[in-house]
């Protein structure tokens, strides 16, 4: 670990001003990912700006949406009465992430910013284009069981590890971003990037910006939602594949539907084409199977993760079936 300066910001303006002063500064909130990255030598900021004192922990019902502050802990969001009632899918996804101890520390903003868990990224003796652009991708010809089947490039096949983001992508969430001279909003599904030729960039947050929170529109899915997470053990494991599914049913007709996959791409993988295919049709097993098959038609796997194509399709069937049966 390299020595670094530790500063505490009392306001968002101050935090942004401190950030602007140093190219190699980093915000720290829960620290559940950044501290590991620093211990491993993957990340070595000169300056850590602690933002825990910023007033960004609020969870509130606004006009047409729910606002969640960037510093609300994963546990606080998952267990909040408003979230459990209005956004049960988000609550489910959060509670399937990490472990209870981590959820107590990890924040919403940090969850958006968390980096891949690819083993080659964390071992600084290995090649990794995300950590060290131009050094190659260790996973491409290496151990890639946990890696992407959608949207990857020859430069990077890593996946985004979040569960929360998969639910937020399905729920059409918007990320609220603070800038030195104001705010901007970006759809969550546009927040994270595909690796392309710049795998070192996980997302579209600019160097002088801060996440203030997320806004999740109120919806009509009620209880017809499911977050299915398939993993190697029942808790404290990253998804092999996860599915966020939300349905608005009119009798048996699918009036509205949202689907997103986790553990399959460099970002939450929203299935808009499948949604369009399902919208307006009668819910039936053959249709769901057809939708699942269409969802994975474009998937491309590697040596150890071919199973993910089958697993993703099966998980979509399972999640939609369970969502339709929730009451």
């Amino acid at each position: 670990m390299i020595n670094f300066q530790y500063l505490r910001a009392g306001s968002t303006e101050k935090a942004l001003a401190l950030l602007a002063k140093d190219k190699n500064a980093s915000f720290i909130a829960g620290g559940t990912n950044l501290v590991d990255l620093m211990k491993k030598g993957v990340s070595s900021p000169d300056k850590l700006i602690d933002i825990n004192k910023l007033p960004l922990k609020d969870i509130s019902l606004e006009e047409g949406h729910i606002h969640i502050g960037a510093l609300a802990s994963n546990a606080a969001v998952a267990d909040h009465a408003l979230i459990r009632e209005k956004l049960p899918l988000l609550s489910m996804a959060l509670n399937k992430g990490a472990s209870a101890q981590l959820r107590n520390m990890a924040t919403v903003g940090g969850n958006l910013m968390q980096r891949t868990r690819c083993g080659y990224f964390y071992d600084i003796t290995m090649p990794c284009n995300k950590r060290k652009p131009g050094s190659g991708c260790g996973a491409l010809e290496g151990y890639n069981r946990m890696h992407a089947i959608f949207g990857h490039s020859e430069n990077c096949i890593a996946v985004h590890p979040s569960d929360m983001c998969v639910a937020l992508a399905a729920l059409d969430a918007v990320v609220v971003i603070g800038q030195p001279n104001g705010e901007r909003r970006i759809a969550l599904s546009e927040f994270h990037r595909l690796p392309g030729k710049t795998p070192q960039l996980d997302n579209n947050l600019k160097a002088n910006e801060i996440i203030l929170g997320v806004e999740v529109p109120l919806n009509t899915y009620g209880r017809h939602v499911q977050y299915l997470k398939v993993r190697d053990r029942s808790s404290y494991a990253f998804a092999l594949v996860s599915v966020a599914a939300a349905l608005e049913l009119d009798g048996n007709r699918i009036r509205e539907v949202r689907l997103a996959l986790g553990g399959v791409a460099h970002k939450p993988w929203r299935l808009t084409a499948t949604e369009a295919f399902l919208r307006g049709r009668e819910f039936d097993p053959a249709l769901i199977r057809e939708a699942a098959n269409r969802s994975v038609a474009e998937a491309r796997a590697f040596k150890h993760n071919k199973f993910k194509i089958t697993l993703a399709a099966e998980s979509i069937v399972q999640a939609l079936s369970e969502a339709s049966q929730q009451s």
Partner: protein, 713 residues
């Protein structure tokens, strides 16, 4: 024999309160005046030479006292010898495996040592290497000891002529012990020729011996403390190079030095269960009599030191079969040397043998339980001796009843519960029952309290609790008035805690020393004009004695040559397999232990429960993944190397046959640490087959394997 024992009903773990309140001190918690902290610098190449070691920046960093390496290590008597492994810490510039320690930074704080370690620059000359086990099965090294290599009775490969036969290959990945407590040591030279260490060891006498030999000291000049150990599972059965290096560093800086390695280092320098490949052939007559067993095994080892465990052992005696042939070999790789891990050899072999038994029973259309009972031998055909004690038929029956075996359907994939397929599986586990030599000192105080002392170890099973209960049984005094002291090399000698032998060995010595004490007390009573059975405190008072002390060595005798001695276990599991995602959940467990008299029911049950959880990990989740292009582990952390979590583990029912073995030792008690895990993984694999018709022969049974396997029926 055991009739004389009057065990108290049950005893709580005697050190339980100390453990849960933090009063129990583990090696890393000791603080000595002037304590310094060590951090290792490890090799980033797999094979070759160190060409450059630039320690200047590290040595100048704040708080740094020394950077120890092969360039400046102190003169070490044991290193002058030609004997011993080629890989010794800070010995030469040779690199034998990736992650090998190449330097150790000692500083006044852990953080400063960590920082300075990052400043050490190492240059290497790389050489071609091989860490690919699966790709090297043709590069077999025959064991030095031919007895380990091959075995045959009757005809070889008789299964090929059998009416009904199976032949299959089974594989296991590298598993790491990774106890919660990280490895390390705290070392301090009291004088130029006197060394004290606080260690994490399964044998204080073994550690004392290794350190004494390495540093050229009389054994009594090396004091080893290791009262509490936070899990070992076998990895603390030897003194690792990193411990030697820390003792060197303490000599160099002239202050106490503490090293606690990191979690990722736990994957590379303190051993592992070796990856293994096995091929089994089994044959039977149409009425279900086994006519041939063939078992070949290959396991990973290191190029600089051979490690070989007894993988084919169970195949030689478990079943009544006239024709058995086995071979064993090792595949040396450029990796650190493996070491025994819970159920060493037998747990690996049992996965293959007990899966194959299930496969053959299925082919015979027999209940696998009936098949095992039919082939349960009366005598050990390998050693040609009677078993000292075996109650397998009763164990099968009681376990079957508890799990509800009658609900199992012979034809696979018949039972469902929503989207889950239900299956039942069974497997047998076994491990040798041993009694070695140990010495115990007993000190009876004037107030009637008793202190027992022996240099035994406790890596978690509850050694002291068992010993206290044995003493209470012999002397007829309350367990609460007895203390058992262990984990100190200056106490009377006892063997290391390994191979499930502590209770049998040290327990027998406790029994014997207490009997002698009882005899002495009777004599004192009668001489003083008291009744022979007068209260102990009265006897001491009347004789005006502050205490009575007896020390006695105890070991087994001729019975060990006359009988074949084993502990047995039967594991029954019910699993649920998700029909779409391939996720396997173990929904019920019944483990039956046939290990002689159960001395301490509570701690014995804990052993079986812990073994079942370890078995679940072996069966479903544990795999240390190596990228053989680099020779490095990819998932070297607890987030990615999956041991079962609480949410995975169902209630575990434990049944003990609890009948004394009439021959092994005075208590009739046998070891249980290994059998608690041995065989468990096969029970899960067999249950997965029963649930789905899919036979998974490669551990761990992860959802991808279940999804990709096609049902065989």
């Amino acid at each position: 024999m055991s009739e004389k024992f009057l065990f108290p009903d049950d005893t709580d773990r005697v050190d339980g309160v100390a453990k849960v309140t933090g009063k129990a001190r583990y090696f890393a918690e000791f603080d000595l005046p002037g304590l310094t902290y060590a951090v290792l610098v490890t090799s980033s190449i797999t094979k070759g030479r160190i060409t450059q070691l630039n320690t200047r920046n590290a040595a100048r960093a704040p708080g740094v006292l020394a950077v120890v390496s092969h360039l400046n290590r102190p003169v070490t008597a044991g290193y002058e010898s030609k004997e011993g492994p080629a890989m010794r810490i800070f010995y030469t510039d040779r690199i034998f495996f990736n992650g090998q320690p190449v330097a150790m930074v000692v500083a006044d704080t852990f953080e400063r040592a960590t920082h300075a370690a990052s400043l050490v620059e190492v240059g290497y000359e790389k050489e071609a290497f091989n860490t690919d086990f699966d790709g090297s099965l043709d590069q077999v090294k025959k064991p030095k000891n031919p007895a380990q290599g091959a075995y045959q009775r009757g005809e070889a490969d008789a299964y090929k002529q059998a009416a009904v036969s199976v032949e299959a290959t089974y594989t296991l990945p590298v598993e790491t012990h990774n106890p919660m407590e990280l490895h390390g040591i705290l070392a301090f030279w009291n004088a130029a020729d006197k060394l004290t260490v606080y260690a994490k060891t399964q044998g204080v006498k073994a550690t004392q011996g290794t350190l004494a030999r390495t540093f050229g000291l009389p054994a009594e000049n090396v004091q080893v403390f290791s009262e509490f150990v936070g899990g070992g599972f076998g990895m603390a059965l030897r003194t690792w190079p990193l411990e030697i290096g820390t003792v060197m560093a303490a000599k160099l800086v002239g202050r106490p030095v503490k090293l606690v390695i990191t979690r990722d280092q736990m994957f590379t320098m303190v051993g592992n269960r070796p990856a293994a490949w096995q091929k089994i052939g089994l044959g039977a007559s149409r009425n279900g009599r086994l006519t041939g067993i063939t078992h070949h095994s290959l396991a990973q080892s290191s190029v600089y030191e051979d490690f070989m465990e007894n993988i084919t052992g169970m195949s030689k005696f478990m079943y009544g079969c006239e024709n058995v042939n086995t071979t064993s070999g090792i595949v040396p790789l450029d990796l650190s040397v493996p070491i025994w891990m819970r159920g060493p050899g037998e747990a690996t072999g049992a996965f293959a043998l007990e899966s194959a038994i299930d496969e053959l029973a299925f082919k015979l259309n027999m209940d696998p339980l009936d098949f095992r009972v039919l082939n349960d031998p009366e005598t050990d055909l390998e050693k040609n001796k009677p078993f000292s004690d075996k109650n397998l038929k009763e164990a099968y029956k009681r376990g079957a009843q508890a799990i509800g075996w009658k609900n199992r359907v012979q034809r696979p994939a018949q039972l469902t519960e929503g989207d889950w397929q239900i299956g039942y599986g069974v497997s047998t586990g076994v491990f040798g029952a041993f009694r070695r030599s140990a010495t115990v000192r007993a000190v009876l105080n004037a107030d009637g309290s008793l202190v027992l002392q022996s240099a035994a170890s406790d890596i978690g099973p509850g050694t002291a609790t068992g010993m206290v209960r044995i003493a209470a049984g012999v002397l007829g005094i309350p367990a609460s008035s007895i203390t058992f002291e262990l984990g100190d090399s200056s106490l009377p000698p006892a063997p290391s805690q390994g191979g499930s032998s502590t209770l049998s060995t040290v327990g027998a010595a406790v029994n014997d020393v207490c009997l002698q004490l009882l005899g002495n007390l009777k004599e004192l009573a009668v001489n003083a004009g008291l009744k022979a059975d007068a209260p102990f405190a009265d006897i001491l008072k009347k004789n005006n004695l502050p205490y009575v002390e007896v020390t006695k060595e105890s070991k087994g005798g001729a019975e060990q040559a006359k009988y074949s001695m084993y502990s047995f276990s039967i594991h029954f599991v019910q699993v649920k397999v998700h029909r779409r995602t391939g996720v396997v959940k173990v929904s019920r467990i019944v483990s039956v232990g046939d290990a002689g008299k159960i001395v301490s029911p509570k701690t014995a049950k804990s052993q079986m429960v812990g073994g079942a959880v370890g078995g679940m990990g072996m069966a479903l989740t544990e795999e240390a993944v190596l990228d053989s292009r680099y020779g490095r582990y990819i998932n070297n952390n607890f987030g990615d190397y999956h041991v079962p979590v609480n949410a995975d583990v169902p209630d575990i029912e434990v049944i003990f046959i609890d009948k004394p073995d009439p021959h092994i030792n005075p208590m009739g008690a046998k070891g249980m640490g290994e059998i608690a895990l041995t065989g468990f993984s096969a029970a899960v694999a067999n249950a997965v087959f029963n649930a789905t018709g899919k036979r998974i022969r490669s551990l761990p049974i992860t959802p991808d394997k279940v999804l990709q396997e096609t049902a065989g029926v």
